[in-house]
Assembly symmetry: C2
Homo-oligomer: 186 residues x 2
């Protein structure tokens, strides 16, 4: 890795932490520079603006992060379980995605978000055509429900209950319930 690439990687990691904690409006570029031990001007040279830095983080952590979870349209219950596992291990992913929804709404400047979804929807439609389970729903509806169930307990979820209410359920019990719920859905 060249020295410039190493600096970029440090900036992206520091930016991911900063944006996950404070969101886009709340993030401070000088805090990112300090954490990354990089010159603040260099951040603008590499990424142009705070918004474009956020897009780069979103792309790396959310779109490619969630895409690294193998999608198995013929085994959606286990896919939901794996998404749950991934988000347990990477709590910043759903925080970043949620800030994006609140602050940038529908913007998908790189188009990768759309592509990632469309690839999955096509694969799902192909399985449904072969009489696979879940044919009561359109591919879009089915994928939306599977992801929503997988993240039902995510702390950023608007409807998630205070942990004081839910703390009685272990992580394993939650994962089992998620897999079972998607099985029922199909």
């Amino acid at each position: 890795m060249s020295r410039a690439d190493a600096t970029k990687a440090r900036i992206l990691q520091a930016a991911a932490d900063e944006f996950a904690t404070y969101g886009i409006a709340g993030a401070r570029v000088d805090r990112i520079a300090k954490t990354a031990a990089a010159n603040k001007n260099l951040i603008y040279v590499y990424f142009c603006s705070k918004e474009q830095l956020f897009d780069a983080v979103l792309d790396a952590h959310v779109t490619h992060g969630l895409d690294s979870v193998p999608f198995t349209p013929d085994d959606l219950p286990e896919y939901a379980g794996r998404i749950f596992d991934y988000c347990q291990q990477h709590p910043e992913v759903i925080r970043l995605a949620t800030w994006h929804r609140l602050e940038r709404a529908d913007q998908d400047p790189t188009g990768t978000l759309r592509t990632a979804h469309e690839t999955k929807l096509k694969a799902l439609a192909a399985v449904q055509k072969q009489g696979g389970p879940g044919s009561d729903f359109s591919p879009t509806a089915l994928l939306s429900f599977v992801l929503s169930i997988a993240l039902a307990w995510n702390p950023t979820n608007a409807t998630s209950m205070p942990t004081s209410v839910t703390e009685t359920e272990s992580t394993d019990a939650r994962r089992r319930a998620i897999v079972e719920a998607v099985r029922h859905l199909l």
Copy 2:
């Protein structure tokens, strides 16, 4: 309504709009004062701080708002449909709840959020004891899944797809799919 009550009501409405758009950190008390045609100092007299003003808005719009949707533990599919309808008509509710999750995490200063959930969970447990459907899941899991499915398409949902992907489905089709999905779940 006294003049003071009328001013308070105007402040709460202006604050709801401001917080829904910008979140807690991003909200500006002078913008709220201007929109409400109220003196900025009066906001501090009535609500002490921006954070406590947010709590009052959350209480009024989210906790009591969602609680105004009749909870029918013996007919969860229709309950999910009604939650969907309510959030279509009041898009600010889930935005406010989501900002709360991101910026104040688990804080529930008034305790009403916890109470609202616990009342529903008790009613659900009672129906399950009588052999009602959905007994494969704990009341907490079941309520989490029902709410997540009801909000699967909500634009603030971290996993919701760009509208360019989902715009082919009408509001009616979405509602039908939600009711059907909860039926499958049970």
